[in-house]
């Protein structure tokens, strides 16, 4: 393995100048995001520093319970973030996101760890944790896109759905165009990424491995696996979440439930 360039804290400070420059520009243009940039800059620094030390410890210790704990924490934060990003009135959104993100991402993780990487032990933290991070992050984004789009459409396109119901369509038939649009919204970013990767974008995992001295031809194999697994995670998670949203949006008598009170009295 070739020698890598170590980044000192001083060097990180220099890198932070880029963030300060972005802050100054957005402040000058009155975009109203400089506060978020400050918070984001500090949070990303702290979160990643902590993550670095935590990962170092878990990899060194190698115990299964640390891996499980870390996965639960990552999943918890993902669910919490997804719930927070969903402004639409969605019944039981906490349950929907929990079931969809946990089942969707863990199935893909298990498949990758067992069938692709043949990890021994299966929970080998050096592989499982970074890969789980990528899977869960993409599952969270896809689930949020699918749920917000579908919930928004169930409200905005209520007339369309009820027209179909009134013409004798089942709930599944009536909601089909909305579900299709929601799933496309959720899955298209992954599909687009598949199309441009290696031409327009050189993704983080691969560039990281190359900088760390890994043979680029091996690094791209990892990246191909990553692309496939995050596409699968996005697809699986968004399908599970839309199935749940639809189940909760309709009654067994194929009636579209009222999401929230619309009129005011008193």
């Amino acid at each position: 393995m070739t020698e890598t360039v170590d980044i000192r804290y001083f060097d990180l400070g220099i890198a932070a100048l880029l963030l300060f420059a972005s802050m100054a520009l957005t402040w000058h243009l009155q975009l109203g995001v400089h506060r978020d940039l400050i918070i984001g800059g500090i949070r990303s620094f702290l979160q990643l520093m902590v993550m670095g030390y935590v990962l170092a410890y878990i990899i060194k210790d190698g115990a299964w319970y640390w891996v499980v704990l870390a996965l639960m924490l990552m999943l918890g934060v993902a669910v919490h973030t997804a719930v927070g990003r969903t402004r639409e009135a969605v019944v039981n959104k906490h349950t929907i996101y929990t079931v969809a993100i946990v089942s969707g991402s863990m199935l893909v993780l298990l498949f990758i760890a067992g069938a692709v990487l043949h990890l021994r032990p299966l929970y080998d933290p050096r592989y499982v944790l970074p890969i789980a991070g990528m899977i869960i992050g993409n599952a969270m984004t896809a689930a949020t896109l699918a749920v917000t789009r579908l919930a928004g459409d169930l409200h905005a396109r209520r007339r369309e759905v009820e027209t179909a119901l009134a013409l004798g369509a089942s709930a599944a038939q009536a909601v089909h165009p909305l579900r299709r649009d929601a799933l496309r919204t959720a899955i298209l970013p992954s599909v687009n990424a598949l199309l441009v990767v290696g031409v327009v974008s050189l993704p983080g995992m691969m560039t990281g491995q190359i900088i760390a001295g890994q043979d680029p031809t091996q690094a791209v194999r990892y990246q191909i696996m990553v692309m496939y697994m995050i596409t699968a995670a996005a697809t699986l998670t968004s399908i599970i979440s839309t199935v749940m949203v639809i189940r909760l949006a309709f009654t067994p008598a194929h009636q579209l439930r009222e999401a929230s009170p619309t009129s005011t009295v008193g």
């Binding site: 009134a166 008598a253 009129s263």
Partner: protein, 247 residues
């Protein structure tokens, strides 16, 4: 009239609706103690000011909603024991603002049949268009590019494609000029007389009510009062507002 000849019976029905009071969701009773009978092949108008609950009442007949209390019978069967999909194929509905799917007029007409794995021939589609007063060349046109009045007629033709036993109409003519409105009402009356299709029509338009000239349920202030015809219903409607007596 006995329950046996009745197509629909509303038996002591109440409707609650979730509303916000001081920002908090609560349940408010919109209508109560509603008992109505609609004979097979008959007509009924639901007349009253906007917000009185007429449309909510109409949605019970094809079970887009369930009553909060009481029961609804269709051909003697409690709607809760009736397959809602089969019910809605027998009891059509035309909304105030029709929604046409973003495909051709012909495909719109075929949609309800497609959901039952059936097809609509072009001949049948054109015949439906003819019945609602639209020329044959509309068949291949994109539905969403039509005018409001044309869209309402296509929506009506689409509802008729299933040859429903009854048709529910929610302010079917409110978006139309008076001439188009009369054309639609006359067409509905013809269907009613010729094929015995039961009509239940929500309206707050006096001219529509007069043209329908049928038993009229006045819906106002949480109650429903039944009058034998449009004239007597309108006569009770003093000062332009409505004064209802307990029925």
């Amino acid at each position: 009239m006995s329950v046996a000849e009745a197509l629909f019976v509303l038996d002591d029905v109440a409707i609650d609706r979730p509303v916000l009071r001081e920002g908090r969701p609560i349940t408010s009773r919109v209508l109560e103690q509603v008992s109505l009978t609609v004979p097979a092949g008959g007509r009924l108008a639901l007349y009253g000011p906007s917000g009185s609950g007429k449309s909510s009442l109409l949605r019970l007949f094809n079970r887009l909603d369930d009553p909060s209390a009481g029961r609804v019978l269709f051909a003697g069967t409690d709607l809760r024991d009736y397959d809602p999909i089969i019910l809605r194929r027998r009891v059509g509905m035309l909304f105030q603002q029709p929604h046409l799917f973003d495909v051709t007029v012909g495909e719109n007409l075929a949609y309800p049949l497609r959901w039952q794995q059936q097809t609509l021939t072009r001949e049948d589609g054109v015949a439906l268009l003819c019945e609602v007063g639209l020329p044959e060349d509309f068949y291949g046109r994109r539905a969403q590019q039509l005018s409001g009045g044309q869209q309402q007629r296509v929506a009506l033709a689409r509802a008729l494609a299933l040859s429903p036993t009854a048709l529910l109409l929610d302010e079917p003519t409110s978006a139309l000029d008076e001439e188009s409105a009369h054309l639609i009402v006359d067409l509905l009356l013809r269907r009613n007389v010729e094929t015995g299709m039961t009509l239940i029509t929500v309206t707050h338009a006096r001219h529509v009510l007069e043209r329908l000239n049928c038993p009229t349920a006045l819906v106002d202030a949480g109650r429903v009062a039944l009058f034998p015809d449009a004239a007597s219903a309108l006569a009770s409607d003093v000062r332009g507002g409505m004064v209802l007596e307990e029925s």
